[in-house]
């Protein structure tokens, strides 16, 4: 038989049940050069639900905590990618929540490598889709708002993911985001040209404008003119979300008056 072609970027994978435990044992040895290869193989394996189940039930997730603090940014990126693949299943999400990996992940939000940050945002986004995950991420909302304020122009993907996470969290409980000056910051992001960002930002605004305080802030911060402009935007989602924000805002009395003023 022809020998299996070894991809130099991947570690050798054992057969059957031993694949996952053996790879994690190799990770335990903390060999810098082979960690990346082992992680790549793991990422390939995790696409299969059985392996994912094995990882979750074998309790190997705690080992990943050390890898998140590794010095090599590519190792950190790969670990976050692995975690992102874990969040595609509900047991993975639950395991991720119950493990203590959220604090190290939140530390990695300020990482120097952009691909690492992107993967972290992917993980958080995946977690936030679940109500329990959104609940757990509510504590991170102030930090996320801070990151949003500091976001630069080139980091579009990260911004989109960040805004998506924020919208999921705010749908659950908009008060933390409101408390960290959510409405003004989002007003600034609305003037961004990219449709993805606009869509996500308007979604967050829609969630934020549910409580009365949010509605009042939307009127005060002069966000309504921007929203009116967005109603003529080309993207359907953007229009929908902008309309949603306006729908929420006009419920209070100052809403319609300011809108009518603007329409004139």
């Amino acid at each position: 038989m022809a020998a299996a072609v070894q991809d130099p970027n991947r570690a050798a994978v054992a057969f059957g049940r031993q694949a996952v435990p053996q790879l994690f044992e190799q990770l335990q040895q903390r060999d810098a050069s082979c960690s990346l290869r082992v992680l790549t193989s793991l990422c390939d394996l995790v696409h299969e639900p059985e392996r994912l189940y094995q990882i979750v039930t074998g309790g190997f997730i705690a080992q990943l905590q050390d890898l998140l603090k590794d010095e090599d940014p590519s190792v950190r990126t790969k670990t976050c990618e692995l975690l992102h693949l874990l969040t595609s299943h509900s047991i993975g999400r639950l395991a991720l929540l119950s493990s203590s990996l959220l604090p190290p992940l939140s530390v990695l939000l300020d990482d120097s490598s952009s691909s690492c940050r992107r993967n972290v945002h992917l993980v958080l986004n995946g977690l936030a889709q679940m109500p329990a995950g959104a609940q757990a991420l509510l504590m991170l909302v102030p930090k996320l708002m801070l990151k949003l304020r500091q976001m630069e122009e080139e980091q579009e993907e990260e911004e989109v993911l960040l805004l998506s996470t924020l919208s999921s969290c705010s749908r659950l409980d908009p008060l933390p985001a409101l408390a960290s000056d959510g409405v003004p910051v989002l007003g600034h992001t609305l003037s961004h040209c990219s449709p993805n960002i606009c869509r996500e930002a308007t979604e967050v605004l829609m969630a934020l404008s549910v409580p009365e305080d949010g509605k009042r802030q939307v009127c005060e911060e002069q966000v309504l003119p921007v929203l009116m402009d967005l109603l003529q935007n080309g993207d359907l989602q953007v229009q929908t979300n902008a309309a949603g924000v306006i729908m929420n805002t006009v419920i209070i009395t100052t809403g319609p008056s300011s809108c009518l003023v603007l329409l004139r």
Partner: protein, 399 residues
């Protein structure tokens, strides 16, 4: 017997060196020697017993059972009574000169015999065996040897001293003179191989042709028909691929369905949320309105009450103060604050004067009358007194 002692000493040496094999050999050599030379006497029986016991010496005082098991030494008794000993060849163990007591289970560290210090080097012709003795014993040995030498010197008969002017000289008396020197003749012989020449390339070995030439040719279609054979393989491949892709597509569709469901739910939720908010807002407004109205009503009530109180107070005070003015005037008039000045003047000035004058007049008359009264009284009093006096005189005179 000297040979015996030599053998015994050898065996002791060997035993001391824990080399029980050779010790045994030497010992049993002695047994053989004695058996050969002596009749069955007590000594032989003792020696035989010793040798018999030696066979069961705990050979592994410092050996391991493995060695004795794997490399057994066979001590056999020949039918002749000759002792034979055989053992597998073993390399000598490396042990330090001053040994530690009983090292456990040391791996066989076979040393290179070329570098073993126990192996004798060089010419063995004129060397003496190294006697292994304890230092204390060595001292005793030395002392004993010195003593023995002294004794021997004393016992040995010497040739008498040389006469004066003569000298004794040592001379060889054998037939052939021998050179007595410590210098050992030795010749050095060397041998050296020639330098290696470059070996020429070996010629290609082509064996001679033998046998019969046979040829064969596979025509097309003889082995297998590709189209027929490949069909099941292709079916499996294509089927698996399609199955996998169908699964993936189904998963994607399922995911898309889930997302659509989520979106629909979100829409419904948003609508409901808007409705909820509207109702909330409405409720809030209504509540505020109600509170406002209630407050207003309370205000109005309070004002009304105040007004009523004011009116009541006003009425009462009016009524209270209604008769004030006439009564004031009345009392003032009663107190004489409104007066006719002429009348007042007449009253104040004239009439008192008049009255005073009248009073004076009357007083005068009164005084006059008083005076008169007094005069009358006094007159009457005098008359009374007179009369009284007269009376008494009369009384006294009339007896």
């Amino acid at each position: 017997m000297s040979r015996l002692s030599v053998l015994i000493s050898h065996s002791l040496v060997a035993l001391n060196g824990h080399d029980v094999g050779s010790a045994l050999f030497y010992f049993l050599e002695t047994v053989a020697t004695t058996v050969e030379h002596l009749t069955a006497s007590k000594q032989t029986s003792y020696l035989l017993r010793i040798s018999a016991n030696l066979n069961w010496i705990p050979v592994n005082k410092s050996w391991d059972g493995f060695r004795t098991m794997a490399l057994p030494s066979y001590n056999l008794r020949d039918p002749n009574g000759m002792y034979t000993f055989s053992s597998r060849p073993r390399p000598v163990e490396i042990r330090s000169k001053y040994r530690e007591p009983a090292p456990e289970q040391t791996q066989r560290q076979y040393g290179n015999i070329m570098y073993d210090r126990r192996v004798v080097r060089g010419n063995t012709f004129a060397q003496h065996p190294i006697p292994r003795v304890h230092p204390a014993k060595q001292q005793a040995f030395k002392r004993r040897s010195i003593a023995r030498r002294q004794a021997r010197v004393h016992l040995r008969t010497k040739s008498p001293e040389a006469l004066q002017g003569r000298q004794h000289v040592d001379v060889q008396t054998e037939l052939y003179l021998e050179e007595l020197s410590n210098v050992i003749e030795a010749t050095d012989i060397e041998c050296q191989t020639d330098e290696f020449l470059d070996k020429p390339a070996t010629p290609l070995f082509i064996p001679a042709k033998s046998g019969v030439d046979v040829g064969t040719q596979i025509e097309e279609g003889e082995l297998f028909d590709f189209d027929l054979e490949v069909q099941p393989v292709l079916e499996v491949l294509v089927g698996k691929t399609i199955e996998q892709s169908l699964l993936e597509v189904m998963e994607e569709e399922e995911l898309a369905c889930l997302r659509t469901q989520q979106r629909v739910f979100q829409e419904l939720r948003n609508n409901e949320l808007a409705e909820v908010q509207r109702l909330q807002e409405q409720d809030r407004r209504r509540r505020e309105e109600k509170e406002l109205r209630v407050a207003q009503q309370k205000e109005a009530l309070k004002k009304e009450r105040e007004t009523a109180e004011k009116i009541a107070a006003q009425a009462f005070s009016q009524q209270y103060l209604a008769g004030l003015l006439p009564s004031v005037f009345t009392s003032l008039r009663n107190h004489g604050y409104f007066y006719d000045p002429v009348e007042k003047d007449i009253e104040v000035n004239f009439l008192p004067w008049l009255m005073a004058e009248v009073n004076d007049q009357l007083k005068k008359r009164f005084v006059a009358r008083e005076l008169l009264d007094i005069i009358i009284y006094e007159a009457s009093q005098k008359r009374l007194e007179e009369f009284n006096r007269l009376e008494t005189r009369q009384d006294s005179s009339d007896p």
